[in-house]
Amino acid sequence: MSYILNRVFSMMLTLFLISAITFAVTNILPGDVAMMIMGTQSNPEALAGLRETLGLNDPLLVQYGRWVGGMLTGDWGSSLVFKEPIAPLLLQKMTASGLLVLFSMAIALTCAIPLGVWAAVHANRWQDTAASSTAMLGVSLPDFFWGIMLILLFARGLGWLPSSGFVDPGDDLGAAVRHALLPSLALGLGLMAHLTRMTRATMTGILKQEFIRVARAKGLNESTVVWRYGLANAVGPVMTVAGLQVGYLFGSIIVIESLFNYTGMGWLTYQALLNRDIPLIQASVFVIAAVVMLANLIVDLLYAVVDPRIRLS
């Protein structure tokens, strides 16, 4: 119990640091929001007036306080590009991206774990070479390259799936899945390659452990030794790596969503960055970092479920 309290408190501290870093990064630029709203050619007096109303002449610390205060009270401001309140906008886009992240994680894990274990069992034989080489190739291809290939093959070539756009699952579930499939695959393939390598490395280490030898000495058959004794010990480390990859995914969605015109969080952030929509940049960067941190927190807590050694401490 105190462990969880401890983690929650630590999370609050990290959230605070995340907000500070976000604010700092977005305030290193020479221009400001007023200039962006009115354009560079605007009347200097009007500009100064707007700065005054927006509070841009206040010290940075005061501005930061105002920003955090707004976040805490639910006033996240309005996007300069979309002319909409930010909070509901983010919520909607985050749902869309959540779908992609979950899909790609599911695709990656279901393939990576068996493949990685299989490679580890046949370490340094042709099965391993084949699996490891494929995985190596997979981690070396840029995500958008996967995306382009998938578009060429499944959308342009075979015409099976749409190559762009987003459909809300609430409107048409089938269409939503079809639109999410290719971007998820584009995200998932690289991830799968990475997780395969990790699983293989972890399992190779585990299979050298003494308790594996003991399990064999007990007369258990190889599949029990590998898939029960071995894999049970690999779940924790692989899960941790998968959790860390959530961060990587939220980086990749920026590229993939804009490639597939999938209007989720990545696409939104990209639009904000392109148009220097500072309030939106701040809010979406903060939200993405917070979600990534939360995902890792959940993985940490889940670790305690699969590993009794963590449970007690």
């Binding site: 105190s2 401890n6 408190f9 452990q209 003494e210 308790f211 030898r213 003991v214 399990a215 064999r216 000495a217 007990k218 007369g219 258990l220 058959n221 029990t224 004794y229 049970a232 010990n233 924790g236 699969v306 590993d307 009794p308 050694r309 007690l312």
Partner: protein
Amino acid sequence: MPIDQEPLVSVDKLRVEFRGEDGPIVGVENISFSIAPGETVCVVGESGSGKSVTSLSLMRLVEFGGGRITSGRLGFSLNGEQIDLAQTDSETMQAIRGDEIGMIFQEPMTSLNPVFTIERQMTDGLRVHRGLSRTKARARALELLQQVRIPEPERRLTQYPHELSGGMRQRVMIAMAMACEPRLLIADEPTTALDVTIQAEILALIDRLKRETGMAVLFITHDMAVVAQMADRVVVMYRGKLVEEGPVERIFAAPQEEYTRKLLAAVPRLGEMRGKPAPEPMRLVGEETAQASPTPIDAAPEPLLKVSNLTTRYPVKGGLFRRTIANVHAVEDVSFDIGRGQTLALVGESGCGKSSCGRSILRLSEPTSGQVLLDRTDILALNNRDLRRRAWRDMQMVFQDPFASLNPYMRLRDQVAEPIRNFAIKTAGTVEDRVAELFDRVDLPRSFMSRFPHELSGGQRQRVAIARALAVNPKLIIADEAVSALDVSVQAQVLNLMMELQAELGVSYLFISHDMAVVERVAHRVGVMYLGRLVEIGSRQQVFENPQHSYTKSLLSAVPVADPTQRNIRDDLNFRPIPSPVFPLGHIPAPSIYDEVAPGHQVLRAQMGLGLD
């Protein structure tokens, strides 16, 4: 005793190869021996002798480590028929493993699967081999835990391995190996990782189970003392070959081969120094006997090192902001002196605080309170700069692990020269000359000076570490388990070197060790530590020949003697487990009060909250 009947196991001309970078490497070759039912055969050898490869071959587990049995027979009598395990298919092998042959391994900490309960690990073998239901398997597991005398067996079944102590885990391992009442138990260094009292318990347990069930035991070990205690017959191995084989009494009394004689000569036997006042180098076969040190017993009245009420506690961090939530009382109110040219040995089991004590004197760990006077210099009062200039100028340390105590990226010459340069030690010639002289002194060829550590063996590295310590002409060397990681023949050479250096240079040692037989060889005075306290201190003869504290007595009774005519394995031993040294923040322990039972022989007054009688 060998029983006159068909052998249970007959190994004939076994040869095992491993895949190497440049073609196959021979693991063992031409190994032949047999095991009769109910007999204990010990395979003994130093590291690299191939003793484990032999045992893993019998289980055909060697194949999982990249090995291959290329020739030879592994005869095994199964249901009255002789089969060749080397030719058996993998399904039959699976049926034999864990059923006909049980096996236990060296590391109780890693032999059990950390994420499964004890029950699951104990029952899966039974369910595979005996087809027992879950409840029946559980009942049998419970029975087995009772047989190996684990306290609270019901609770153990629901626990995970990390919740059990090392000794208890090894008992679980043995219970697991015994599950299907195997006719052969293979024990691969089962007590090497354990403290001496736990070792005595485990040896007694294996011996009792063997007598009760009539199974044969193949016991793999590097420790001649354990061999003397356990074996009916002995197989001596060296570099993958069989050296000699015979009944244990014959091997110890009249070894036929040069190697066996060398090995036995290098083994210190507890009790063989009885009646001798001063330490004595070992008489090694094929080497000139080292000079015994003419001991200046307290020639100078003033001791070199005076430690008073030394206390070291390590904080246990936790909770919010990683605050200190408890303290490990590693060293608790310890006082002793070391005379010039003398060796004080600190002995005790793991976690007793002997290493922390040594580190605290050097201030590699910062003591909480107390006083350390080296030649009247108050070590604990020195600031960082003076610590370097004054304390470490006179005191040096030799660490346990020869593979970690030298910087892998620095030439040995530079590592030995470092203290000379840093402390600006005056030398007759150049620094280079001094380093060469030091290499001569520790019997290393000068050509080694330009080498890197990985080009040396463990024993050679430890000599370099000693040379580095000697470079400052120290008054005191703290040797923290300095010979523990070495093979017994190398250990004897390094011990002799240390004793010689003491005789020549008059250096004092604080010799920290868990090995009572080694300590009996090298020490002038002995201090026994338990749970951070010094429970007994006196001259070597006082402590070894007339132990007063109950802990010292039980420790000495647990040490196996390398002599088959002095077997001290008793029916069943159960030493009291060592309590935790972690105490809550405000805990104030009672001060250490000693009774002087003889001049210089002090014994901690009973009931110091140590949980001892």
